[in-house]
């Protein structure tokens, strides 16, 4: 049976763990808000780009010939895996790695190459026999627009130079703080942009294009892919923080339950010690009286 000292030590240990989980939850909440703001503005940017592409496609009737559209027979597939920067966020990283492993095992005739974003994915795959053609372990935690753009452009260059024939991204779609979903999306080649989106009604004046509608559309498509890439990283970052917030909240609650249980045990033990001492004193007094 544990002594009072043992129980007191145990309670102190759990209490300090609870302080850590509480602090981590608060940090995750702040980081989540930052990631959400960045994600929302990127979402707005993509919406506007998409609308511009749809409007231009209606003006240009013929099929556009763009190096990022159309596609070619797939011999090599590039897989961009966006994981978290660290653990303590439930099954967040594990689920992503599992999805990526499933993609790696699919269709053995196609060679697969990995682009790893986030430290957890990098730590998992770096010692394995998979071909890694790009890694950005710190991009999710310390993202900046410059670094995100550079990573997106590197991935596009791999496709345009023919090193890969298809680019797939595996990331976590942020639904809400409590809900997230793993998404697998083909980034390149671009199949269709803005499916289901309506073109803007024609204006009373004709639109002037500088330099030309074709040139603008040609420049828009790579930006759209960069935007999708950034959105995926930012969404994953928001999802990771949300997952950590929920996990740390649960850990804090569990620590409180443990503290309550041990406090109860502590009180019972203390009561038993007092009762025992009292009965010993009474028994001693009785013996002296006899």
């Amino acid at each position: 049976m544990p002594t009072l000292k043992d129980i007191r030590k145990k309670i102190q240990g759990v209490r300090s763990t609870q302080q850590i989980t509480k602090a981590m939850k608060m940090m995750a909440t702040v980081k989540l808000r930052r990631a959400m703001d960045a994600h929302l503005s990127t979402h707005l940017y993509l919406e506007k780009l998409e609308q511009m592409v749809v409007d231009l496609r209606t003006i240009l009737p013929e099929k556009i010939d763009h190096p990022l559209m159309g596609g070619r027979p797939v011999k090599t597939r590039g897989i961009v895996l966006v994981t978290g920067e660290r653990g303590l966020c439930g099954s967040f990283n594990h689920d992503l790695i599992k999805t990526c492993l499933r993609l790696l095992q699919e269709d053995p005739t196609i060679e697969k190459k990995l682009i790893l974003i986030g430290r957890k994915g990098y730590d998992h795959f770096r010692r394995q026999a998979h071909a890694i053609i790009g890694s950005h372990p710190d991009l999710v935690g310390k993202y900046s627009q410059k670094a995100l753009t550079a990573a997106a452009r590197n991935a596009i260059t791999l496709y345009t130079t023919g090193l890969i024939d298809e680019l797939v991204i595996v990331y976590t779609h942020f639904v809400s703080t409590l809900e997230r979903r793993i998404e697998t999306r083909i980034l390149l080649p671009v199949s269709e942009i803005g499916t289901g989106r309506q073109a803007r009604p024609p204006t009373t004046h004709s639109i002037q294009f500088d330099p030309s509608a074709e040139a603008i559309l040609t420049a828009l498509i790579p930006r759209y892919i960069e935007g999708l890439f950034m959105k995926a990283v930012l969404e994953s970052s928001a999802s990771e923080q949300a997952a950590r917030m929920v996990a740390m909240d649960a850990a804090t609650d569990r620590a409180q339950e443990m503290i309550d249980d041990w406090s109860m045990k502590f009180n019972r033990t203390r009561q038993a010690v007092i009762t025992k001492e009292l009965s010993e004193v009474i028994a001693g007094a009785d013996a002296l009286a006899d």
Binding site: S41, Q145, A215
Partner: protein
């Protein structure tokens, strides 16, 4: 005259909206000014400075590294690759006292952002004229 509504949108940066009486943007083929009532326009943007004169006359400066510009029925939208607001700009230390010229087509995104920051800083903090 009805003012222009100017929306500045950039990935991972907060949206900025202004009611403006004039706007100057760095188009892909050179700077151009926009006044209310102008014909619709869609163009690419180059590296340069955006100048917005608000309805009340207040000036706002931003630097962009590239992007797209759309003007439809007095609603101007700037879709910037990277947007640097004048209020928070700092001069990149390595470009201090150096001429600001890197051919845009050869500049990396990092170089472009530094160049845009330096251009904006120098516009907002002009060096005093030589006294001699």
């Amino acid at each position: 005259m009805k003012p222009l509504t100017v929306a500045l949108v950039a990935p991972s940066q907060p949206l900025a909206i202004f009611r403006a009486r004039s706007l100057t943007v760095p188009g892909g083929t050179g700077y151009f000014g926009i006044l209310p009532g102008r014909e619709p326009l869609i163009t690419t943007l180059g590296l340069g400075l955006i100048h917005i004169v608000e309805e009340g006359g207040k000036d706002h400066w931003f630097a962009v590294t590239g992007g797209f510009f759309e003007l439809i029925e007095d609603m101007a939208t700037v879709l910037a690759d990277a947007l640097i607001p004048g209020e928070t700009v700092e001069h990149p230390a390595h470009l201090r006292g150096k001429p600001l010229y890197i051919p845009q087509e050869f500049a990396s995104e990092v170089q472009k952002v530094d160049l845009a920051r330096a251009m904006l800083w120098r516009k907002l903090h002009p060096e005093p004229a030589n006294q001699s």
